[in-house]
């Protein structure tokens, strides 16, 4: 029932937004699932849905590149909104041209995603619920000794098929040339990719940028718990630099700042 009310509210908000935009990016039910769809003014909104999740910020980035002058709307979860903030910070999207129609995830969805903030600032549908305090996998990982942890990650990364799905499906990965495709770091035609450099290159690039949407992990055909490391980075940048990825366009990522006087310990 709540789901129905949420959908009705969203459809109403999308209809409103369509009166002042070229179109709204949202999910449309399709063949037993859903796919991102560009709704235009006058379109039937009855098949607009909210699940399964897709990285809407990534797709909006593609649309914005193709149509730089267009005014676009997007139906967004908390993580989608955070990804848009990170992309805007790095001049990949223009938030002046984007209207965010936000909705809250349910408590169940937040637990499943181990999400600390399962709602966007631009909330128009659903009720904001509190997320988890911290990714519970962090405590599990930190209970291990160094040797156990090293063995754990070695065995996890050994499963990697080098599909590049974690990078391809990441809403905040946008570089046209990627370090993970450089022969210097990653030899082509060899499996598994070099440990730990391959995954550490990705992790380094996620500092101050990962918005914990979990899309990389969900897309991983080898079920590697990729975002556990990103959660640790998320927590550390918050503790040491007071920086939270996706919170505000005005907050500059710590890796882009001079270190002098910014570290607290």
């Amino acid at each position: 029932m709540d789901e129905q009310i949420l959908l009705e509210n969203l459809r109403q908000a999308v209809a409103d937004t369509l009166t002042r935009t070229e179109g709204v990016l949202a999910l449309r039910s399709d063949h037993g699932g859903a796919a991102p769809h560009f709704f235009k003014p006058g379109d039937d909104l009855s098949d607009l849905v909210t699940a399964p999740r897709y990285p809407m910020a990534m797709i909006l980035d593609t649309l914005g590149d193709a149509w730089p002058e267009a005014r676009l709307g997007v139906v967004a979860r908390g993580c989608d909104e955070r990804a848009l903030v990170e992309l805007a910070k790095r001049n990949q999207v223009n938030l002046d041209n984007i209207e965010i129609i936000g909705f809250a995830c349910t408590a169940g969805q937040a637990t499943e995603c181990r999400c600390t903030q399962p709602y966007p600032d631009a909330l128009v549908a659903g009720e904001a619920t509190e997320g988890v305090a911290e990714d519970p996998r962090l405590a599990e990982l930190e209970a291990m000794s160094f040797a156990e942890r090293f063995a754990f990650w070695s065995s996890q990364y050994e499963k990697c098929l080098k599909c590049y799905g974690c990078r391809n499906f990441c809403p905040v990965c946008y570089c046209p040339t990627c370090a993970l495709e450089s022969e210097l770091w990653v030899e082509t035609g060899v499996l598994a990719p070099p440990f730990p450099s391959y995954h550490m290159i990705k992790a380094m690039h996620m500092v101050g940028r990962c918005v914990a949407c979990r899309e990389c992990e969900n897309a991983c055909p080898a079920d590697i718990p990729l975002t556990t490391i990103f959660s640790a980075l998320y927590r550390d940048t918050a503790e040491k630099f007071g920086y939270v990825a996706g919170r505000s366009v005005d907050e500059k990522p710590p890796l882009l700042l001079s270190l002098s006087g910014t570290m607290e310990d």
Binding site: A34, T62, N168
Partner: protein, 135 residues
């Protein structure tokens, strides 16, 4: 201004993962995994992620080509099919049916693969039939 996602089957191996082709202003620009699909469940391998790479590729051959005068020349479909039929008949006549083998594809449907083995076994008379997924 047009953007849509078209559900399709990965053209590479026989696993049959589903994916969405991202079509932006009538050009295929990328791939998204299909989360609802029972086989792939929102994951893809590196081939699936690059399944759209050949669609608008400049090296893609879009019509039959015949090797002539030390190079390739574009020819019509009727001419190409006649040429293949004549050559296959000639080889079968001269060297027997086992001089010919057929290589089918995991990219085809089950029915298309059935038809190719039918051609191999019933028309040509050879058991030389295999497919790309075993290469």
């Amino acid at each position: 201004m047009n953007y849509r996602n078209v559900l399709t089957v990965c053209p590479y191996c026989g696993a049959g993962c589903n994916l969405y082709l991202q079509v932006l202003d009538d050009k295929v620009v990328g791939v998204l995994p299909a989360k609802q699909h029972v086989i792939s469940k929102g994951s893809l391998c590196i081939k699936g992620w690059n399944a759209a790479a050949f669609v608008h590729h400049e090296d893609r051959i879009t019509q039959p080509m015949a090797r002539r005068n030390g190079g390739f020349e574009p020819i019509g479909w009727d001419e190409a099919l006649d040429m293949v039929t004549d050559k296959l008949a000639e080889i079968r006549q001269t060297h027997g049916p086992n001089a010919i083998s057929f290589l089918s594809s995991a990219k085809c449907t089950n029915e298309e693969n059935y038809l190719l083995q039918k051609l191999a076994r019933a028309v040509i008379g050879t058991n030389g039939i295999d497919h790309c997924a075993r290469l």
